[in-house]
Amino acid sequence: MTSRRTLLKGAAAVGGLTAFAAGYGHTVAKTAEGLATGSAGTAPRDPRTFNAPKPEFTVDAATGALTPNPDQQVAFTMCQACNTMCGVRVRTDKATDAVLRVAGNPYHPLSADRQIPYATPVRDAYLSLTRHGEAGLAGRSTACGRGNAALSQINNPYRVTTCLKRVGPRGAGEWRSIPYEQLIEEVCEGGDLFGEGPVAGLRALRDLETPLDPANPEYGPVANQVAILNATSDGRDEFIKRFAFNAYGTRNYGHHGSYCGLSMRVGSGAIMNDLNGYPHGKPDFENVEFAIFIGSAPGNAGKPFKRQGRLLAQARSEGKLNYVVVEPVLTNASSMAADDRNRWIPIVPGGDNALAMGMIRWILDNERYDARYLAQPGPKAAEQAGEASFSNATHLVVTQDGHPRKGFFLRGSDIGLPLAEVEGAERWKKGDVFLCIDAADGSLRPFGKPGPAQLFHTGTVETPEGPVAVKTSLQLLKDSAEAHSMADYAAACGLDVSVIEGLAREFTAHGKKAAVDCHGGTMHANGFYTAFSVLMLNLLIGNWNMKGGMVDSIGGFPDYAPGPRYDLAKFPGQVAPKGIFLSRSKFPYQKTSEFKRRKEAGESPYPTKAPWYPLSPPMLTEYLTAAVNGYPYGLKALVSFMANPVYGHAGLRGAVADKLKDPKVLPLFVAIDAFINETNCMADYIVPDSVMYEAWGWTSPWSGTVTRASTARWPVIEPRQVKAADGDRVTMEKFFIDVGLRLGLPGFGDAVIADADGTLHPLKRPEDCYLRAGANVAYAGTPVPDASDDDIALSGVGRIVPELEKALKPEEVRKVAFVFARGGRFQDHAEAYDGEAVMADNRVTAKAGFCIYNEAVATAVNTMTGKRHSGVPAWYPLTLADGTPLRDRFPEAEWPFLVASYKSNMQSSYSIGSPRLRQVHPNNPISVSVADAARLGIASGDAVRLVTPGGSVVATALVRHGIRPGAIAVEHGYGHTELGARRHVIDGVAQPDLGGFSAGVNLNDVGLMDPTREGVSTLGDWVIGSAARQALPARLEKVAAT
């Protein structure tokens, strides 16, 4: 790599420069006035420091004594400016309850360089952030740009603070405030609520007995026609699940995952042999030596944003890390200042699958894989070999055509071995061993015995039923990789063969201290096999659970789950949801009534009206289209909490937005949110809610965090929304509690939370849940100490002590206060590693081994084609649901570009309301390459029309070298039509017109429908259904300036 990069003339300085260059612009005109009269303006609070508030602490330079400012309070709670959910310190003005500024919590692993020991008194924690002994430099704990700016959400002029009921048709933007109690009554009891005819309320719809469709009883009861949508894992989701699944009893709870990064999660789940929990990892940034980020941009975006960014910055400057970022567009994951330590590799959008398969092929061809790791067939062998995990590389798979077990692993019972003597042993399932060929003597043997096994094998095995053709998993991977030449792979991803080989060579030159990561860049029409193939590379070097390799998140301490003090997961009379998810997930189509009917009628059971997704979790991406199409069934009511799929899910606006406005399609829509967004603008009712630092919640961190952590969100300021008649603030939790109480649902009321002795306690206020979850956190393992008086006073926890005393047992109060005083509970960093591996508790394992070959994937059937999927990674083009290559339907001649979406390093999908963010980064001109711009006569600043088969949008062009020719890139977070972009009329008064909220474009507005599917649909991955917001076919037209 070169050291002589020069500035790109005529192309983009992205951000900032304007501010410092423009500072002079408006000064001259004011000068005369100023000279004549002294200063013409308003005098600042202090002539030297202007309007900065007084500091929150003062530290005596000599003694290090810390004196808090008596007018201010600092408290550790949780950010929610994006989905990372970092621990932050919030500084407030006591007199006004205003948030002055937000930075990081030094106890918190997502915010601190290296978190301070948990036992540290709060006073010393504050001191660790100061200049005293320069502690605050190494000990700094940060908030990102967005986290710094998020405080404006509290007093955002567009915030909803009263209970709203729509006036006029849905989506018209007119509302009136109603009493909270009226809202609860109308939502529960229904009636002719809008003069449009009768609407069934939540009481009538909570029918757990009547099948919603007698012809298809497996769909479950009527209650399933109430869907409850959540935005993200914000630490309040367990409360919603409690209501949805176990109190109300609907199957259909959904969140943003399927339009966020689901392809990565299912691809990772396929590798990790866990298609229920879908675990994934991140490189161990503290120790990795070479990392490849494919469709992932640490330091620019991703979760956890700060931890990744900080560790990347350190590793590329003072550490050992070299890395490449493989993306169609250049982002802040690149650093010219770190020079030779990093490099951007511009790839064709959607080309990642081919790159990964090329690398896999080269690694196998050149025997650069970790043979010692892959040869260990089971846990005993792995332990003996000193490995921290094992794979099924050596396990034998039945490959014989026509054999009923084709595609399944060969099991002990297939060759006449008895089942293991374990409870629940069952043929081809539990207790039926996998088989491999011993490396030493070539014998067929169970995987669980110590000693290595053969990696590659194609042959036959004698069984009581005769010989059966088999191959090892690794052999199948090799066959799959060899299905295409290196030149084919190179052509498909637009990179030279030498680049693919070079990456593979470097990746396999660091032992286990290398890692490859992928994320949102895989969210395209071939996302699953992309992620499956990319993440397979980690398995080939055996880096899981190792220092410098791939690490999961160890998670948090038990909070809602049955904990040492309370069981918040189970309650008397709880129900279990039954039936099929709207998204047709996790249920084999072959067990449906429809399948049987079609078979009995003598017709082919394939294709289905819409794909079934046996490998996928429930997916919000299919809920609303399913509801409109009525397949598998329609919806009678929707309750959403902060969810905004119409903004976040590519193509959904075009597919369903107008239809959801029709009460005949969706009779009732209740939204809980502090803001009116692109989805809940179509609601019938809006329940106001607490925002960020006003709310309760418990979260655990994302992958790549090497110590256990539970982050506490607690109200460090008073919520701004209305109170109910009973004096409590209206919140999401209160809404679900009061609906539960009114309908007499289990789980809410006087005796519903069991403590460790079985004594039942009430859940009638949010605090009843969240504080007891806090007790579980505080008492997990070795209980935390009691908070000192000084901890309580300095941390601001004093303001919630009355609530603690109301909800908790006396002995719990100070322990829970200890946790809140520190913003949660955090394991010390010193415990993170055990030798060359991560600590034992943080190792991910799979009883049957990580998957070179995934049997569940291999034996699942694509219900659109009736064909099975490949059980090993393979290369596919971007593909529509019925198997048609995307480019066959949308050819390059007509749609010469592929559009990529990338996450903003500043705006999240809901942060546009912050003026201090907008001033830095007000909109998102779309990136066009220099070559394409020249061809089309487009200059930076020109208005251009971006056209896809899903629609068109007018944007500003930014001509860059930082994008691959043939690609267009759109930064996410702009192009809002709500959240302040539209002025709603509430109680006859129009919201203010502040401008700027609608700036830029939202690529999702021109996302595609899938033309091979019936009814309304959005384009998704052809295997698992995750939304496609990447690699969308498009063309670009210059717009004449108006």
Binding site: S3, T6, L7, K30, A52, V59, L137, L151, V944
Partner: protein, 255 residues
């Protein structure tokens, strides 16, 4: 792996001397400017920014804006971001270059000399400040600053700029931008303390400053500063044109 980089730096006008030399030059410079007033002598505050660690997240920008209640649209610090490619090797991919900017708290500050009312002054600890009670908003200092680090505050109608968060530093705290620097790029401290982190960084690294040819002896030092970014950058400014749905410009963002 990075030898070529080092060669390149060695040939450029890098400041390789340690703190002592910097401060010595400051002492000579001081004679030509109005007397320093306020602040403690025996300290010389400075910032070192390691550009390799900057991720361009603008946390510093927003924290400063919030802490100092800077009017919207004006900035005491900001991170300029550039897209760069090698002119000699145009086949190579571009890279991102981020450059945090703020007042350099120069030892020979041109802004101080031009102030007709001595509102802009330098403290004994090196911080260059504005006394809003004296400032008449003439903007001579704004013009004199080679770094575009000053603006006229539209609320107070006085010159405004980075103070190194003097209110925080005097209280024993760190500047807001340093506290919240996600990559750990910004380091602040006392150059007269040989044991300070900034002194150590100046000893260990070939730091550089912006516009060294101006002879202002800036006290914001950069690790990894490319000379082509040390002066006026020949780049195209960012595009913040906002358009309506038909593509018509609807002007600048209002906040």
């Amino acid at each position: 792996m990075d030898t070529s980089r080092r060669d390149f730096l060695a040939g450029a006008c890098s400041i390789t001397a340690g703190a002592a030399v910097c401060v010595a030059s400051a002492e000579t410079a001081q004679a030509a400017t109005p007397a320093r007033r306020g602040g403690e002598s025996g300290q010389r505050f400075a910032m070192v920014i390691d550009l390799r660690k900057c991720i361009g997240c603008q946390a510093c920008t927003v924290a400063c804006s919030t802490e100092n209640q800077v009017p919207l649209g004006d900035f005491r610090t900001i991170v300029s971001q550039y897209e760069v490619r090698d002119a000699d090797r145009p086949d190579q991919p571009a890279a991102t270059y981020t450059l945090p900017r703020l007042c350099n708290h120069c030892d020979d500050p041109p802004c101080v000399e031009v102030c007709p009312v001595q509102a802009t002054y330098q403290q004994k600890d090196g911080k260059v400040l504005v006394d809003a009670d004296r400032c008449v908003g003439c903007a001579y200092c704004v013009q004199a600053c080679p770094y575009d680090a000053r603006y006229i505050n539209p609320e107070t109608q006085t010159a405004d700029k980075c103070t190194f968060c003097t209110h925080r530093v005097e209280a024993g705290l760190l500047p807001a931008c340093v506290e919240t620097c996600v990559g750990g790029a910004r380091v602040f401290g006392d150059l007269l303390d040989p044991n300070s982190t900034v002194s150590g960084l100046l000893r260990d690294h070939a730091v550089k400053v912006l516009r060294p040819e101006m002879g202002t002896a800036p006290h914001v030092f950069y690790i990894g500063l490319d000379d082509r970014f040390a002066g006026k950058v020949e780049g195209q400014a960012a595009l913040w044109i906002v358009r309506d749905a038909q593509g018509a410009e609807i002007g600048e963002i209002r906040s």
